[in-house]
Amino acid sequence: MLQEKFYGFAYPAFIRNSSLKKYLVLGLLMNLFYPQSFAQSPSCQAVALQTVALMNNAFFMISAGTIVKDLVIAKITFYQEEPVSYCKQDGTCYPKTIGFVKADNKEENNVPALKLLNCHQGDLLYKNQEYALYHLVPNAQ
């Protein structure tokens, strides 16, 4: 009975606290350093190889086969098991790889989750103690 009350979807509480600040800063940085390389060409796109959750919202997932457009940044977070994620200009990030605890409760790490289609990781854009940001640049035609 009680469980039936728990409907609704929006950003979770933890985003409003610490994580939101991180992603706001990330979004700000990406706006500052937005690579112009995609301005005149198709946006950087990736395909989801698994069902993956947004890095800043575990309540929302995209199914395998979904094309994610307008990626601008590769974010490498230090001290994490699955460190690389690809991010849009608004700060929404998707993991490059994911780790699983499987049905038999064995762990499987570095499972490819997102594959870049028409771009690759370019030069370093920004680095601090927590993470480094790299441009995503178009592949040579």
């Binding site: 009680l2 469980q3 009350k5 728990f6 409907y7 609704g8 979807f9 929006a10 950003y11 979770p12 509480a13 933890f14 409003r16 606290n17 989801a48 698994q50 069902t51 993956v52 959750a53 947004l54 890095m55 800043n56 919202n57 575990a58 309540f59 929302f60 997932m61 995209i62 199914s63 395998a64 086969g65 979904t66 094309i67 994490q80 098991e81 699955e82 994620s85 993991p95 790889t97 994911i98 780790g99 699983f100 605890v101 499987k102 049905a103 038999d104 409760n105 989750a113």
Partner: protein, 126 residues
């Protein structure tokens, strides 16, 4: 006098026993995942559909968003319901249940602050 002493001893032992069992029970709540679910603290880490997790102590409900998630004692929290963008149907399916309680039920509110309610999870006695 001796009779009352015995009654008192029984009461103390009974209370201690119940308390100890409750603590034990709180640690014993197990869930099974009905979907692949990402940990909220580390969304690149998933519990796969069919996997189980023990020591789940809390169902937390966000007061503002009404999002709810279950949390393991000393571990991660996982969404209780998720929304999924389905690439085949090009639609978002909302409120997909992610976990089923195996041996526990949602109990009373154990804590609340400005942002959330915490419901304790209690073991079902078989």
């Amino acid at each position: 006098m001796l009779k009352w002493l015995c009654v008192g001893m029984i009461c103390i032992l009974s209370t201690t026993n119940t308390w100890a069992k409750r603590v034990e029970d709180d640690d014993a709540c197990q869930i099974v995942f009905l979907q692949d679910v990402a940990a909220m603290e580390e969304p690149s880490n998933f519990m796969a559909k069919g996997s189980t997790l023990g020591g789940v102590t809390t169902l937390r409900v966000d007061k503002e968003t009404h999002n709810s998630y279950v949390c393991q004692h000393g571990g991660n929290c996982y969404p209780y319901r998720i929304s999924v963008w389905n690439n085949d149907t090009k639609m978002v399916t909302k409120n997909i249940p992610t976990v089923r309680f195996l041996n526990c039920v949602v109990g009373d509110i154990s804590f609340q602050d400005d942002t959330s309610f915490d419901y304790v999870l209690r073991e079902i006695y078989s």
